[in-house]
Subunit: 232 residues, 2 copies
């Protein structure tokens, strides 16, 4: 992560070598970082396949191909490794959602649709992410430090949905309860995640998106004029 930042500085640093004694160790650091990632990915895979109770050092070693001692060398302990996996997977998810929110325009319902679409897409609803999340969530009662990586009450998510609804209110002169509907929408998204986890084979993404958007558009347009939201 931080290694690649100082990577391209190396050729320029010839005059004062004493000031950058670390710059030449780049390749090693990159290698180390590479192994770190291999371990994180392997651990996630083991968690998906064997659940948290089946995630052992031996299985991780087998899946990653690196030696037994590497785990403690990189992460100090297995618990720490699990924590790092949580961090790793959560960042992946966060990055994906941020991209979806940026891509949307400033038409509130369009933005909302983009958010929902992203939430149902295979960048969020996939075996790896859902399985790891469920595993971490089930452990978060006994390991509270895991909670923040798999939370249902993400402020950023809440805010972006809330803003869409508030904007919609102003634009159409209506008065829907933005807080309640935001929570409802977040709840639906959470429900879909659980459903996907338990039925990844039978899960129909389009169908889910359809259901989701039907529900949302009904919640949003209710009471106001019967202006339907089906634009495209």
């Amino acid at each position: 992560m931080t290694a690649s930042v100082s990577n391209n500085l190396k050729p320029a640093a010839t005059a004062d070598q004493d000031l950058q004694p670390e710059a030449s160790k780049v390749k090693r650091i990159v290698n180390k970082e590479h192994h770190r990632l291999v371990l994180l990915e392997a651990t996630a895979s083991v968690m998906v396949e064997h659940g948290i109770s089946g995630t052992t050092i031996s299985k991780i070693q087998e899946a990653s191909g690196v030696s037994r001692g590497m785990i403690n060398l990189h992460f100090q302990s297995k618990d720490n490794l699990i924590l790092a996996v949580a961090e790793h997977v959560e960042e992946e998810y966060r990055r994906c959602r941020r991209r979806a929110m940026e891509a949307a325009g400033n038409e509130p319902l369009k933005t909302l649709q983009a958010i929902i679409q992203s939430e149902v897409s295979d960048t969020v609803l996939n075996l790896r992410l859902t399985a790891v999340w469920m595993a971490l969530r089930s452990e978060s009662n006994s390991r509270p430090e895991l909670l923040r990586f798999v939370d249902t009450r993400d402020r950023a998510f809440y805010c972006s949905v809330f803003r869409c609804l508030r904007k919609y209110n102003k634009l159409h002169g209506v008065d829907i309860d933005c807080r309640k509907l935001t929570l409802a929408i977040m709840s639906i998204a959470e429900g879909l995640l659980t459903d996907y986890h338990l039925h990844s084979d039978a899960f129909d993404r389009e169908d889910a998106l359809d259901m989701c958007w039907y529900a949302i558009s009904r919640m949003v347009v209710a009471g106001s004029e019967n202006s339907r939201v089906e634009e495209d």
Copy 2:
């Protein structure tokens, strides 16, 4: 469970003893059954407190107070015990929901409200049930036999909600998509369960019910006349 059924038959059976040789073993069976329940409850408690990966024979022994060997005597193996806990907790949940559905009248929205109310009540949303469910769900990928006890796609739940909406359609001459809204309602309920699990302390039951019912009533009444559902 089955033991208490034949319990009160014992005094009457004096004429033909040969036909009921089992009737006298009642007290023993009751004792055995009692220990079975103690083990199930203790295991559930350990799962809540330590997660599935922290649920060990030693901890169960400590929590239940019975001897180490009892677990294999009653359940053959630890895996089997976990399965029995799944069965046990799921039955508890199912019984509670059935009661809620029976209590409701035949006014569709009233029935729907009763179902939702039950789903948010402390008989469903409580530490024990949610924690055990989450633990089992996280393991259901590697142990598919657990799925049926913690499924998101419960047919009985689906049907009862669906019927309410269909009845509402007929009653008010509207044409909401019952399938989609049923799935949406189920999704919200699932989302609340996850949220409760991660925030049992901060969770506000009334607030959740409010949110839930606001969302549902908007979904249901949208497009039709602006007949509000706020009756009580």
